[in-house]
Amino acid sequence: MDFLAENWAHVVEWFSYSGRILPSLLQGGKITLLVFALTLVLSLPLGLVFGLMRISKIPPLRWIASAYIWVLRGTPLLLQLYFVYYGLPSMGLTLEAIPSAVVAFTLNYSAYFAEIYRGGIQSIDRGQYEAAKALGYTGGQTMWKIIIPQTLSRIIPPITNETITLVKDTALITSISISELLRAAKGAVNRDLDTTAFLLAAILYLFFTLILTIIFKFTEKRFSRHIRRES
């Protein structure tokens, strides 16, 4: 208590400074959130497409998906970002910074999600396909109504991991001059010679990931109702 009393002025000053720089950080946070949300919404279904292609009965589809996954997982995300933003214009396709970021992130994350889906689908017992076939399901009905619903409880934990990584990877887009959270923080630090902004940025990232963790926990529970837990 003594410590607080002696340093009260500093504490007040710290909070008032934080309050002054917070709006610009939140502004950056909005961009971070935007790139994050768009990437997630686009890469989850795109990943499913490549995941299904990867295990398709048609060899060329399998080859395309394997090559896609190999390239996008085998090169740095930052390099892919540069390629879309700086490289594509020379091929006649110029995108603004934020769309470039969304495109690069979506392609990259869809490759990781594809592998998660593939693993989930391949973990389902062959007996499930046989039961569906014996009941007269078509291949498509079997996939959508029997197999994929069963994979949900298994793929949500690895998808949660990737999603949390995505929150942090958004910091990379600062390198193509997008004013996201990290750039906003760095701006404040450089201007005021005070690292408080970094601390606040860390708190904001933690807050995002905490919310995500809670949402995914809830979703995982919802899709695991059928799994009996030993009590």
Binding site: A134, L135, G136, K145, I227, R228
Partner: protein
């Protein structure tokens, strides 16, 4: 009139021939038990009948419709949609139940009638409730399969197969995955079906059960049907040496 006709059915897995020319027929309402040592091809045989295995050569007709035939040494199946419709006259009960774990008991039973046969939810649920009553599991309707015993799961699996109103039911060792004290409840359900003249093909190791329920017993060994006859004739008075040896071994257990 034969509801199922099989002629010279051959099935190879790679270079291994597991079925070496099976000829088989069953009448409507007939209950056939298929006995034989493991590796004799009996499970593969019934799995060929609903396309779980693709045959190498031969002919299969169900209810006078050709599912697969062989022309110039090449197997030709009915077009996918037709084949699915023809196989829709059959139902199958598996050794490992294969219930859908993400669906409740009642949803397991209504799913295929709704998805495959386009019945209304209300109609499907009504049928499912009747079937659950018949197998004695109506009070489990809203539970998930994981909370049921093996015997209960297998009874649900039988109800699921019956919900599509098949002309003929295949059982692939329906009690082999069950604890001994749970086989009785499953065999009882099958006996009730036999009493109602459901056409059934049952691959089983339960000799006493086969004797009690089957009109006819087929003994398979080494990919051939070695002997067939009435249950009493084949089990109590087997003619073939291999049948006799098999039954002796089973009695020793």
């Amino acid at each position: 009139m034969a509801i199922l006709e099989v002629q010279n059915l051959v099935k190879n897995f790679g270079s291994l021939q597991v079925l070496k020319g099976i000829d088989f027929e069953t009448e409507k309402g007939q209950v056939t038990a298929i006995l034989g040592p493991s590796g004799s091809g009996k499970s593969t045989f019934i799995r060929c009948l609903n396309r779980l295995e693709k045959i190498t050569s031969g002919k299969i007709s169900i209810d006078n419709e050709v599912l697969a035939d062989t022309q110039d040494g090449k197997v030709v199946y009915a077009p996918e949609k037709e084949a699915r419709r023809i196989c829709g006259k059959t139902g199958m009960v598996f050794q490992s139940f294969n219930l859908f774990p993400h669906m409740t008991v009642i949803d397991n039973i209504t799913a295929a009638p709704i998805t495959v046969q386009k019945r209304s939810q209300a109609e499907a649920e009504e049928t499912a409730a009747e079937l659950l009553k018949r197998v004695g599991l109506l009070e489990k309707a809203k539970q998930y399969p994981s909370s049921l015993s093996g015997g209960q799961q297998q009874r649900v699996a039988i109800a699921r197969a019956l919900a599509l109103k098949p002309e003929i039911l295949f059982f692939d060792e329906p009690t082999s995955a069950l604890d001994p004290e749970l086989t009785g409840e499953v065999l009882r359900v099958i006996r009730d079906l036999a009493a109602e003249h459901m056409t059934m093909l049952i691959v089983t190791h339960e000799i006493e059960f086969a004797l009690g329920v089957a009109d006819r017993v087929v003994f398979m060994d080494g990919g051939h049907i070695v002997e067939s006859g009435t249950a009493d004739a084949l089990i109590n008075h087997p003619k073939n040496e291999r049948t006799r040896a098999f039954l002796n071994r089973m009695h020793e257990v």
